[in-house]
Symmetry: C2
Subunit: 394 residues, 2 copies
């Protein structure tokens, strides 16, 4: 599988760097925290102590106009590029971000941050504000008293981070999947400060079909008796891990494609007999269930619910995508995976058509591979030259 | 929407028949019950009192070789054609089955039956044997003590029904979705008695991707605390309606496509505010939730679990689709919907390739429309001439 190959290649690269004296590791990045204090959400609600994690690479120029913002996918975080230590794996888009790479950190100041209500709140690397955070007014976790946040709120937090760093213009705003939605929301919110937009495996509209899929994703959490309407943080209470794992499994299967799991065939684990016992499983189910449960332990169920809602609220301040992007002056490169089962190719073709009707320079490029939607996360290397050309065109 | 148009057309036809004296209604069918007594499953387990519902149209000829078997989809039953009364709606494939229609009941003896563990066990029209049935050994509902059944068991029950009716050969075995899987399982089990196979919106293999999707469909039931490991039939216990409704909603959304729900836009129901309250909903969610709950009340959660398992056990007696269909001597017409999100076009292309490699006459035809997978259930009328030609070719 490509994922395994990538991991193997990544490990080989680490070994090489260690083996060759004098070959310095240039891709170490540091996870930082942006303490923003009070933050007013678009709904009017106020967050008293906003903090999010972020990382940067490259150097901001004096004009503050060589910045690139990379926004992450649904289950991702700021780790788009670089390594936190020499023996750690690189970020998800490291193939296209770094010194001399397509998004060249010798030329651009690249920023990536954790969103509000980030899913990976328990992974030890993610810094976010959401239902798990402590509400200073009560001294307890917010739970579902946390205010609803929208995709636009994600952008407003990133805007404050960029302001704090001195960024004046974005040479590029980009990201895969939910990162593409954030890039588009940026283009709608701050058209005057953006040169280029590159939404990858995204959509220009969350339509009723997608509203319902997001609801399907989260339904298992609401059904888990341990969810207790979001009130499960008190000592002695179990979090709704089974529901969260089931939710994460839906996302995981939806975001892949048939070849990604073909190797399991119809194998049955030792001791299991699905043809005779209703509770028994196929190997393909067992492996995905275990992976989902491992991820559930690093995540939080309420954060999942807030995150799906933020996605449902994509471009929620505008009557249509056309209206939202009417003031964009950017160049656009839309990248889609033809085997994407989440944001199907049609969504991307419709976005392209909307941009072209508005007279924007826009192109659609396909990212292929065996992983469906996830081709846009782990299969971007072959598009490096096209992305470089997009960034260097006058 | 096409569904509404179809319903309107059906109502208009009923009105016309009533209005014109002497124009007899020729499409009345009767729901009958096949009492099969003891039945031995492929697993070796025995069902003591097997009964299933069925319906027929047309007349079996003396040779018993003009029969057509129509197998139903996941959430369907025997009602593929005709009406139970003049003021009742027609069956799901009535556009292509009936006197003078593509599957001509003036020429063929058409049979359709309810499967084992049928989902619609509480709709008042479905007769099935499954977890809701009473186990004569205990006098109580089987629940999850009911033995696991496979797609092949569905076929063996249908074989006994056909035997009881005097059927010697099948001029055609067909059905949409899970009905296509049954048609293929028939072609594998009884190749010597089948002239033609027409799988519609199906697949030739339930691969690891599909094994996991079937698991995703059922996960909400297992999470519902009212499920109680399937033991919810006793007086005073509530059935797991919330979990079953969530499961049925996944099936419903998966089996449709974007245009099917486009009319809801991003409307918000009166009094709801999803941008401010986590529990509030969009109209598109509310409508699908209500439809799913209405269906849940006519269904049974354990039957859902057994039905997904039977689908996972498709062609489970064979090492591969190629091996399963190696003895088929039939002509094949594979019909697929290009916007199918369940059994994607690729599944059907692979089935076609398998058949062609085996030297079988086989053709792939597309059924189009706004409903994705369901085009193969409600959008078949435009293919009538092609199906007629397939059935009349020498």
């Amino acid at each position: 599988m490509r994922l395994r190959l990538l991991l193997a290649a990544a490990l080989a690269a680490v070994t090489l760097c260690r083996a060759v004296p004098g070959l310095a590791q240039t891709d170490i990045v540091e996870k930082r925290i942006f303490e923003a204090g009070e933050h007013r959400l678009r709904s009017g609600a106020t967050l008293p102590g906003l903090r999010i994690g972020y990382q940067t690479a490259g150097t901001l120029n004096a004009a503050g106009d060589n910045a690139v913002l990379v926004a992450h996918f649904f289950s991702g975080n700021s780790h788009a590029f670089g390594r936190y230590a020499a023996d750690q794996p690189p970020g998800y888009w490291d193939a296209i971000i770094g010194p001399g790479k397509a998004i060249d950190t010798d030329r651009f100041f690249v920023v990536s941050s954790d969103t509000l209500v980030n899913l990976n709140v328990r992974d030890g690397r993610t810094v976010t504000t959401g239902p798990v955070s402590v509400n200073p007014a009560t001294g307890r976790n917010w739970g579902t008293d946390f205010p609803v946040v929208s995709m636009r709120d994600f952008i407003e937090v990133q805007k404050r981070l960029l302001d704090s760093l001195g960024v004046k213009r974005l040479a590029l705003v980009t990201g895969p999947s939910m990162g593409a939605l954030q890039a588009i929301e940026w283009a709608a919110a701050y058209p005057e400060m953006i040169d280029r937009v590159m939404p990858v495996i995204g959509t220009g509209a969350v339509d009723p079909w997608m509203l319902n899929w997001l609801d399907i994703w989260e339904a298992p959490i609401r059904l888990d008796p341990n969810w207790r309407n979001g009130d499960y943080y008190a000592a002695g209470r179990e979090p709704p891990l089974a529901g969260l794992a089931a939710a994460l499994k839906i996302v995981s299967v939806h975001a892949q494609d048939r070849p990604a799991m073909a190797r399991f065939g119809r194998a049955v684990p030792e001791g299991q007999d699905p043809a005779r016992r209703l509770g028994d499983r196929f190997e393909a189910e067992r492996v995905l269930d275990e992976a989902a449960m491992a991820r559930a332990r690093a995540s939080d169920a309420n954060h999942f619910l807030y995150l799906t809602r933020a996605n449902q609220l994509f471009l929620n301040d505008y009557p249509s995508t056309e209206a939202a992007l009417g003031r964009s002056q950017a160049r656009w490169l839309v990248i889609a995976s033809p085997t994407d089962r989440v944001f199907m190719l049609d969504y991307n073709r419709e976005l392209l058509a909307t941009l072209q009707r508005a007279g924007r320079p826009a192109e659609l490029l396909e990212v292929t591979g065996p992983l469906g939607h996830l081709n846009g996360v782990v299969g971007m290397a072959p598009l490096a030259d096209r992305i470089r050309a997009f960034l260097t065109a006058p």
